[in-house]
């Protein structure tokens, strides 16, 4: 059985037919070919699949595509505006906030949400805010720095 959904992703409207079992992460990756959203665990633990849905950061591996019907979604691919990188993207590069890059889209989307709610967080607030995202490469050191620098330039 296929179900019809209408979603807005990165400012573009899509109408798709999906199976009821399809996760939103799989929909973004396999149907819309937006492979910047990564899947690291399927259980909402690692945060690699974090996107923004209706203004909130969510883990797209544990939301069904059909649940996203009618929603407005931003993925890592939609964060740059008019070819200009989002301050967080530049800050992650500037501060070496990534190594293998796999957790990075989820980290940046989580950080974007964090800074939208709390534009000038303390180090502790940043570390706490990243609790739902794993990075195995960086020891989080430069991720925290990247977010601090992005917040300073706010």
């Amino acid at each position: 059985m296929l179900m019809k959904i209408n979603v807005k992703v990165n400012g573009k409207d899509y109408t798709s037919e999906v199976t009821p079992m399809m996760s939103l992460a799989a929909y973004l990756r396999e149907v819309l070919l937006l492979t910047g959203t990564h899947i690291g665990c399927d259980t909402s633990s690692c945060g690699a699949c974090t996107i923004k849905m209706d203004g909130k950061a969510v883990k797209s591996c544990t939301i069904l595509a059909v649940q996203a019907d009618g929603s407005d979604i931003t993925t890592i691919e939609g964060l740059s505006q008019n070819g200009k990188m989002h301050p967080l993207q530049s800050s992650f590069k500037e501060n070496h906030g990534l190594q293998c890059g796999f957790c990075t889209p989820g980290m940046i989307m989580t950080a974007e949400n964090l800074l939208s709610e709390n534009p000038h967080p303390t180090e502790e607030e940043i570390r706490h805010g990243l609790e739902g995202n794993f990075c195995r490469c960086t020891g989080y050191h430069n991720i925290v720095k990247s977010i601090q620098h992005a917040a300073e330039s706010n």
Binding site: H38, G40, G101, I108, G139
Partner: protein, 785 residues
């Protein structure tokens, strides 16, 4: 120009990663691609009486179903042969692509289902009926060798893979321990770890019948090694018919070195069905089947004289290799482990004795550090424990025992008691700098004050050394490696002077595209923008050995330097011809050859154009400017350093909080300090993770009870403070860049520093030791028993 080395150049690969345009294996979609799902053994040890796949085959969308009977003749090999002490060859059972007869660990592949969609494949997997007869299981390496233990492989008695010893004669070491003024003895359980790269393993095989060729896209650290092992030792395919591509890889830490059964299976099956097949591990499968790390049960003793000098070091370990031998598994508790037993100290007598065992658990192999963290943990934890016991300051105890500084040029390398010869080192230098950074004297005062106020503060030290940059082929060959460990580099200067560098090493987070371009651009005196670094495709790159053992720059970088030397040597001949001068009269700097003492010069780009448009050209010289090299190192490299941890322990809950972490490392020369620091940070985080949080546990039936991120405690951002890092530089004397490698240092040095800090905080309460991971529960129990 010409000053990139030593600068923290921002990484060029980041642009694709931060915009979501990285190209990981699972991102690839091929036309007509099918999907594979496994039925995996739910038992640690079970006889497979029968498998009924009829219902699965009949499920809509299913393309094919395979069992061990279909591909049971194929098995993945072990890449390193270790012999028994008596010279017999190690026990090496077949590791089938799908279980044959018996399943030997939870998660072992039993049935493969290929379908149009992943959901179809998974649904059909539910319909497979396997008749298992559960057998008793053994999971502990020491229990495995006791009489009457369950037999993992029916034809391998006592589950012994091999026994092994290295060092001085045992009776001499025993006598020295017996005669020592003080002996510190500890039992260790260096726990099993899950590597947990955030990108799960992913493979896509694509057999093209029109040319009878295979393409395997794989998340590996070493595409050529995979091709060689799979073609020559598993499927019997000619290598020129197989292309292995490894684009972006989301972390490895060792776990993506090995040739896995799933890799060979998708490749084999792709030909059977004539269509591409994708398999991507989910996290549960990753916990169950990505090769684990560590897992030793050990007793170690260190003897001291009455001046605190170490007189002998004796170790016996039982090392758990799991149910089958993974690619480098046998090297980990032996030649990557026992060879580090000298540490940074002048210990005159050492004996390391290891029994490697099969158990009904997932295979164990190299995980960041591979054998070296386990040895370093023993030595460094014994040092701080001995210091406490002998009431000597742990810093003082180290200084008494350090090998004096040697640069490997004016002073010879240091010959250890355990085969290796250290290249260069200055262990006092990193310790002194780390002490300065931490403010040691002040800390001891603060600690005393804190205790008066009922707070538990502790400081722990680790002055580690490691052997990396693996390795001289002849040396590792003599120790059992079934491969050489050189590296390849092909430098192709394009006619207009831009440069493509093809390296056999592989980047999966290390930033080679940037750091390699830095030293290539500097050596040639051209802008970095004119240099591209290409890796991860066996059709583009000459046979290379890949990235692990902190070897990329030390071995791969050296290979590139060899090719650059050849480029400049040939370029000089062309330049001399054009400038009508003798080669000896030229000097090369800033991207041009100049006749010494004149203003006559010719630029690199003009020489390269001449090489490809050789109208006015030296007689007898071949056109083109394009060189390949293989570099086989003269020795391992020996980075070292001092790590210091400060922890605070909550008296009521036992929770250990890492307050500060100081690392002063010496990894030789540094091309990109930002990248090196990042490597240290990541390594430290993994080492701290082992000390305080992580551990794979199996229950008595062999069920993994830590098989998800909910059960396995991965370090999170709020488990760490900012790390405080600095470096000293003792160049490697035997490679052209003077580099030693930085990938594993953090994971090797940090673990004992943290454990030592915990003991420093609570040993005055009468607690002798706590096994890792040092969780709140364990600390609380120790404080309340």
């Amino acid at each position: 120009m010409s000053n990139y080395i030593g600068q923290s150049i921002k990484r060029r690969e980041d642009d694709r990663f931060i915009t979501g345009k990285g190209k990981y294996t699972d991102d690839i979609v091929l036309p007509k691609m099918t999907h594979l799902a496994f039925v995996r053994s739910p038992y640690a040890h079970a006889k497979i009486n029968s498998i009924d796949t009829k219902a699965a085959l009949a499920h809509p969308g299913v393309v094919a179903v395979y069992t061990g009977e279909d591909c049971g003749n194929f098995g993945v090999p072990c890449g390193w042969q270790v012999n028994f002490k008596n010279g017999d060859t190690m026990k090496e059972p077949t590791h089938p692509l799908l279980a044959v007869g018996k399943a030997k660990h939870v998660g072992e592949n039993v049935v493969a289902i290929i379908a149009e969609t992943l959901q179809d494949a998974r649904d059909a997997a539910e319909l497979v009926e396997v008749d298992y007869e559960e057998l008793p299981a053994v999971t502990n390496p020491n229990a495995a060798i006791q009489p009457g233990a369950p037999q993992v492989h029916d034809d391998i008695p006592n589950n012994v893979v091999f026994d092994f010893a290295l060092g001085n004669p045992k009776e001499e070491v025993d006598a020295a321990i017996d005669g020592a003024n003080h002996v510190t003895k500890l039992d260790f359980k260096n726990q099993r770890l899950a590597p947990n790269a955030i990108e799960p393993r992913s493979y896509i095989a694509d057999y093209d019948v029109t040319v009878d060729k295979y393409t395997l896209y794989t998340s590996t650290q070493n595409p050529h090694l995979i091709r060689l092992l799979m073609c020559a030792f598993v499927l019997g395919l000619p290598e020129h018919k197989v292309r292995v591509i490894s684009h972006d890889v989301g972390g490895g830490f060792g776990s993506k070195i090995y040739h896995y059964t799933e890799e060979a299976l998708v490749t084999w099956a792709s030909k059977q069905i004539g269509r591409p097949i994708k398999w991507t591990s989910d996290r549960s499968e990753a916990f169950l089947t990505d090769a684990h790390g560590r897992d030793y049960v050990t007793t170690a003793e260190m003897g001291f004289d009455n001046n605190g000098k170490i007189v002998a070091f004796r170790v016996h370990s039982d090392a758990n290799l799991g149910a089958y031998l993974s690619t480098f598994s046998t090297a980990c508790p032996t030649y990557l482990h026992a060879t580090l037993a000298q540490g940074c100290y002048t210990t005159p007598l050492i004996n390391i004795d290891v029994t490697a065992t099969f158990t009904n658990t997932n295979p164990v192999d190299a995980y960041r550090g591979a054998g070296r963290p386990e040895m370093t943990y023993m030595i460094e934890h014994l040092m701080d424990t001995a210091a406490l016991e002998m009431k000597i300051d742990p810093v003082e105890l180290r200084k008494i025992n350090f090998i004096p500084a040697f640069d490997g040029v004016n002073q010879p390398g240091y010959q250890t008691q355990v085969a290796l010869q250290y290249d260069s080192g200055d262990y006092h230098a990193t310790l002194d700098r780390a002490l300065e950074m931490v403010g040691y004297d002040q800390f001891r005062k603060d600690q005393e004050e804190a205790r008066k106020n009922g707070k538990l503060l502790g400081i722990g030290f680790s002055t580690y050394i490691e052997a990396c940059g693996i390795a001289p082929s002849a040396v590792v060959g003599s120790l059992g490696a079934r491969a050489g460990l050189y590296e390849s580099a092909h430098v192709r200067v394009q006619p207009t002077g831009s440069v493509s560098v093809f390296t056999g090493s592989h980047s999966h987070g290390q930033g080679h595209e940037t750091s390699y371009a830095q030293f290539v651009a500097d050596t040639l005196g051209i802008p970095m923008e004119n240099v591209d670094i290409i890796h991860g495709d066996t059709n583009e790159v000459a046979f290379g050995m890949g990235t692990y053992g902190s070897r990329s720059l030390a071995v791969g970088g050296s290979a590139i330097m060899k090719s650059l030397d050849k480029i400049l040597e040939k370029g000089a001949k062309i330049a001399a011809h054009k400038l009508e001068a003798a080669v000896e009269d030229l000097e090369y700097a800033e991207g041009k050859w100049t006749v010494k003492g004149t203003d006559k010069s010719i630029a690199f780009g003009d020489v390269s154009l001449t090489a490809y448009v050789p109208h006015d050209y030296p007689e007898g010289l071949e056109p083109g400017l394009d060189f390949s090299s293989f570099y086989d190192p003269a020795n391992f490299t020996y980075p070292f350093g001092t790590h210091i941890a400060i922890v605070e322990i909550d008296k009521d809950t036992g929770k250990v909080t890492l307050k500060r972490f100081i690392a002063c490392d010496d990894v030789g020369n540094v091309i990109n300090p930002m990248i090196v620091e990042g490597q240290i940070h990541g390594g430290v985080a993994q080492g701290v993770g082992q000390a305080l949080l992580e551990g794979v546990d199996y229950d008595e039936n062999g069920q993994m009870i830590t098989g998800s991120f909910m059960d396995y405690a991965m370090p999170r951002a709020d488990d760490f403070p900012f790390f405080e890092t600095d470096r000293k530089v003792t160049p490697c004397p035997h490679n052209p860049l003077g580099v030693k490698g930085a990938g594993e240092a953090g994971a090797i040095g940090s673990t004992p520093a943290v454990a030592n800090a915990v003991m420093d905080a609570i040993s005055h309460l009468g607690i002798k030791d706590i096994q890792m991971p040092i969780t709140s529960e364990r600390v609380w129990k120790a404080m309340n028993s």
